[in-house]
Symmetry: C2
Subunit: 387 residues, 2 copies
């Protein structure tokens, strides 16, 4: 919870927000969240991108930069609809690895050196990796120094340039969140700021047509785990709860009940991702995310599958959530990798534990204010050893 003394300034500065107030020990404290202010939803709505960008072009020398998942390279169904003009540029980016602070620095340098003017905007087209890169690049184009210096909470000083998020896989919640999670030299941690959220989001379920099944499951589970962590967290409030419950119900309908058509499944999972993202925006994630950041930092494990690997062992913290997760794994014949920590050294474990324990708000949400009494290094090591 941030200090209440700066409320008036914050209220004035932000044009779109939800503030959640909570009474604690007689005092009011609050959390504020900027909202994505412009959303377009619907099958085929990707075709509106040209209209949307039209009024946002600063001048003919200021290009739009499209960061596009390289799985779409050569896929003219999508790429032919990217509206290019003047000096606009498509940069294809691999999402094989989790996004890095150094990668953001390189992209920013490439964009600045390659164009006379600052871009009119950054458009991310892809999954959580591409969307997080788009958010980070748009921030770093207007903020000095290295990206690693902005990992944390509210360290960004200047508004980002105009940025648009277009998810092509559902579940990460990156389209709605106020963070962009990056692996830096010292830690895996998001740039959490009021300037992080997209100015515009296009939710076109058709774009998720080609997602491979395993990835569909892992990324969908990212949403499911968001709900479990939010709904079982100490930060929970009625606002967050209603979004989390809805996303949870949608996940159940999609991954357990399986009564929906393919199109309905795509539509509903995109909405689940949205609502799940809204839920954690107004509360916080928990144990699975904290520990999965450790895995990802050390081993480069992708976020979706990393969450699944961790969550599978968290029945102590989320008994019902984990039981239903195991059921969903069975229904969809998903077998998770095993023994990924088998050959790690004590130093490796220490590294992962350091990254995980650094995410204090996540632990406080999951366990409560006294979390340091409960979450010991030994306990985390024991859990990691099972994975």
């Amino acid at each position: 919870m941030r200090e209440i003394s700066t409320l008036s300034q914050q209220l004035e500065r932000l044009s779109n927000y939800v503030f959640i107030f909570v009474k604690e020990d007689g005092y009011m404290s609050y959390k504020n969240y900027p909202m994505v202010s412009r959303v377009v939803f619907g099958r085929g709505s990707f075709n509106q991108l040209e209209d949307i960008l039209q009024s946002k072009r600063l001048n003919v020398k200021a290009p739009f930069i499209f960061l596009v998942d390289d799985v779409f390279k050569g896929n003219s169904w999508l790429t032919s609809r990217i509206p290019l003009a003047y000096h606009d540029k498509v940069l294809y980016i691999s999402a094989e690895e989790e996004p890095k602070t150094s990668q953001v620095d390189e992209l920013v340098e490439q964009i600045i050196l390659g164009h006379k003017d600052h871009p009119s905007g950054i458009i991310g087209i892809g999954g959580g990796t591409i969307l997080d890169l788009a958010k980070a690049v748009s921030i770093m184009l207007t903020n000095e120094g290295e990206t690693r210096n902005y990992q944390g909470w509210d360290l960004v000083k200047n508004p980002a340039i105009y940025h648009v998020g277009i998810p092509t896989i559902s579940g990460t919640g990156s389209e709605v969140s106020r963070t962009t999670v990056l692996t830096g030299p010292n830690k895996k941690l998001g740039i959490n700021s009021d300037y992080t959220p997209f100015d515009q989001v296009i939710l076109d379920p058709e774009l998720t047509n080609g997602v491979p099944k395993n990835q569909w499951f892992y990324t969908g589970m990212d949403c499911y785990i968001h709900c479990i962590e939010s709904l079982n967290g100490t930060y929970l409030n009625a606002f967050s709860k209603s979004y989390g419950e809805k996303a949870y119900d949608l996940c159940k309908a999609i991954f357990v009940d399986k009564k929906l058509s393919k199109k309905e499944t795509q539509d509903e999972l995109m909405m689940a991702s949205w609502h799940g993202g809204m839920s954690i925006a107004y509360s916080q994630v928990g144990v699975a995310h904290a520990m999965s950041y450790g895995l990802s930092y050390l081993l480069g494990t992708k976020h979706g599958i990393g969450n699944c690997i961790v969550f599978d062992h968290l029945d102590e913290f989320y008994p019902e959530g984990v039981a239903l997760f195991k059921k969903m794994k069975d229904i969809h014949n998903i077998s998770l990798p095993k023994g990924i920590c088998a050959n790690l050294t004590d130093e490796d474990f220490d590294t992962m534990i350091d990254v995980a324990l650094g995410l204090e708000p996540l632990w406080e949400n999951a366990i409560g204010k006294n979390w340091k009494n409960i979450i010991t290094r030994a306990k985390l090591k024991n859990l990691y050893q099972k994975m």
Copy 2:
């Protein structure tokens, strides 16, 4: 659905929106909805009003005008927390009757004559009646002529002045909608416009403490009926559906399952109203609202109870929704007035039917494009006669 040709202009003009795109017969059509851009939620968050208004004061001569439900007159728990300064004014307003266009005209005249400068803002504190008046007054302070001329869709030319909505009863969805429903000399119809939604909403469930039980039920049912009409409408889309389903589930937990504490019930009903309002914002209401506008226009029936009286007879259109409604009535020992149309003349019925049939988008949503073949004057008369 509005014409797609104006999309670029609309996209540029609105700073907060959701656009829902739908493919029909191979063509894309869309609906756009401005969003409430600033929301504060939490028990006791009404105390933040002073901070919120601080930066919005134009100058010391430009007052904030507080439209307050007169049930709060003398209730210092609430009134002492209304932050008055300079020439700010509280106008207590009765919500006994549905809001009228003439009432808006009078309020606007009173405000203009009573102050040298245009107000800094209008703050509505009350139920749907007060909130709708606050929205309408804020529009009419910047738009010429009489309020009646703006009843309809997208007739407002100039942005409204800054306006804040603070609900003290939950269910109407007025806090989130792009309409303000008014009874005019010729019709009961909303001012539907992009300028109608509040600039700021404060959702403080504590403010609903003193609501009498019957009114609590009727207004809660307004929300429930929003969900049924939205979820069973032809305008339904995945966006609207997810909000409608959530509000429906919350209504069931509140009015059927009854396992929540008093505080939880207040919190959850305020969220239900929000989600229910979001659902109809992205789709439309239906038969109950259309017919209840008729009742209200002729007999002055308040919106909440009017919806209930109508909905009780709509099992032909909403069989499951009406069955559950009857169950909720039983659980809460609610007995609705009967025979309110018993002594009406043929002319009276014609008047109600004219008002109801005038609401074309509601019928199209409820029945489909061919609704005129199904909804005859005789059918509506027959239904009204049962009430």
